[in-house]
């Protein structure tokens, strides 16, 4: 688990992976952003 | 082992000394300070106080909010006695 080790596992990755439908539509950017932190510059 | 753990770095007081003092009946920060000097060095207890509190809580079962904090008196930073005694530092405030 990411919160215990700093390394995302499959479950962590599943939480940010785009839906199957979106993946089938073509290439998509996946942002490594697992946690909601007080940070807004990318919005 | 406790005699190799320092609680008060300014006065070089070990955890063993702090715990023995509490077991001897001194269960407030003020009493402990008066007996073994922890908290009377340059940092004025800012480093050790929380660790002493933990020992008091462990031995007596007291809660954190029941442990009285010593009075914080000026000056809060060290000053030279020569400066404190300078005549131009003794103007009357009123």
């Amino acid at each position: 688990m990411l919160k215990n080790t700093g390394v995302p596992d499959e479950k962590d990755l599943a939480s940010v992976t785009p839906t199957k439908k979106r993946l089938e539509e073509g290439p998509v950017v996946m942002v490594e952003c697992f946690q909601e932190i007080p940070c807004d510059p990318c919005h | 082992m406790d005699d190799k753990i320092i609680i008060c770095f300014c006065e070089d007081i070990t955890r063993a000394e702090v715990r023995q003092t509490i077991k001897n009946g001194a269960t407030t920060l003020d009493e402990i300070k008066r007996i073994i000097r922890c908290g009377m060095g340059p940092c004025q207890g800012k480093t050790c106080e929380e660790m002493i509190c933990r020992e008091i809580m462990d031995i007596t079962g007291k809660k954190k909010e029941d442990i009285l904090i010593p009075t914080r008196r000026p000056p809060t930073s060290s000053i030279l006695l020569a400066d404190a005694a300078r005549s131009d530092n003794n103007e009357k405030t009123s």
């Binding site: 919160k3 946690q35 | 904090i69 000056p75 400066d83």
Partner: protein, 357 residues
């Protein structure tokens, strides 16, 4: 005796933003700072900040300090006193300070903002007084302000944001970090920082604690073991790290000695890092005219310190009679609210709910 509308103790992010706000509405301001430069802990923060774009997100801490300093330099109603620690606060509302020339200064301010920040906590373990054991903040100052590395191999204790960021900066400075040891079951800092140090090959050992430092004249190693729910070492899990430096990043305590002297109401809050003053929505203590901003009112981070500075700067200027638009207060309070809205700020919200009046 010096008289002023607003006296501010501490020139970190909270104190500087408070000074800029108060002075912008016309108030005369005196800033007391014990260090040789403005910025407080910002000066050693070589990394870009998170937070809101409105509060300098994406800019390095040291650059934010310079932005504030440049702005203050243009203001004629601000007097900055460097290397001048505040010494005491007395019942006749006089603040004393110690000038670099050894003169005892007396200041009578109409309002007072304490932005005194925090100090690093210490923990007990065997041989914890060996040379080579540092606070993580001290190491960050050594490296990023004075250009001195603390050693060659470091063991970091604590996986909060400071522990994670300082570990990263140690590697940037060419120092090996053997591991980051965290007593809690979960990483306390932002996971994005944790992932970054993991990618550099630094292991993060949660549920682990330092048992003792090894060495005679200086640190030569450390023993670390897994701990159970009662914080007791688990048998046969002890392992040794060959390091010459141990870095402690085990939390901060608000620095509030002068507040105790003011007689304001102070309570203990575990969530906020220690003893903290009771404050109203303007961040005013129970003593009218005395305000607190930044870590001194509870441990958070620089962005909230900056906004709290704005709020107290506005409130102090208004208190002494200058006109401050309502919108300024609303903007600052909203900024704080949104900053503290997320799941990582849960403990802050809990702590604050107990100390707001």
């Amino acid at each position: 005796m010096l008289k002023t509308d607003v006296a501010i103790v501490g020139a970190g992010p909270a104190g500087l933003s408070a000074a800029i706000k108060a002075a912008s509405f016309g108030a005369d301001v005196i800033i007391l700072e014990r260090d040789k430069w403005l910025g407080g802990q910002l000066v050693k923060q070589t990394h870009s900040f998170f937070g809101s774009k409105n509060e300098y997100a994406g800019i390095r801490g040291i650059d934010i300090a310079n932005i504030f300093a440049d702005e203050l330099e243009k203001m004629e109603n601000v007097q900055i006193m460097l290397e001048t620690p505040a010494l005491g606060y007395y019942e006749d509302n006089i603040l004393t300070a110690y000038s670099p020339q050894g003169k005892m200064l007396k200041i009578k301010p109409n309002t007072l903002i304490f932005a005194t920040g925090a100090m690093e906590k210490m923990i007990p373990f065997e041989n914890n007084d060996l040379p080579g054991i540092y606070g993580a903040g001290a190491v960050q100052t050594l490296m990023n302000v004075y250009g001195v590395v603390p050693g060659e191999n470091v063991l970091m204790i604590g996986a909060g944001n400071i522990g994670l960021i300082v570990s990263y900066q140690l590697v940037q400075a060419g120092v090996d970090v053997a591991a980051i040891v965290e007593a809690l079951p979960e990483i306390g800092g932002y996971w994005v920082h944790a992932s970054k140090v993991r990618r550099m090959g630094i292991p993060i050992l949660t549920n682990h604690s330092i048992i003792k430092a090894l060495g005679k004249e200086q640190v030569q190693g450390a023993v670390v073991a897994q701990i159970d729910e009662k914080w007791q070492p688990v048998k046969e899990t002890a392992r040794e790290f060959q390091v010459d430096t141990i870095c402690l990043s085990v939390g901060l305590s608000p620095l509030i000695e002068l507040l105790w002297q003011s007689g304001c109401h102070i309570v203990y809050s575990k969530e906020l890092g220690g003893y903290v003053p009771i404050l109203n929505e303007d961040l005013e203590t129970t003593v009218p005219g005395i305000y607190v901003a930044g870590d001194a009112s509870g441990i958070e981070e620089a962005t909230s310190a900056i906004i709290e500075g704005h709020l107290t700067g506005c409130a102090a200027a208004k208190k002494v009679g200058y006109e401050v638009p309502k919108e300024e207060f609303i903007k600052a309070r909203k900024g704080l609210e949104s900053l503290r809205a997320g799941p990582v700020s849960q403990h802050i919200r809990k702590g604050l709910s107990l100390i707001r009046r």
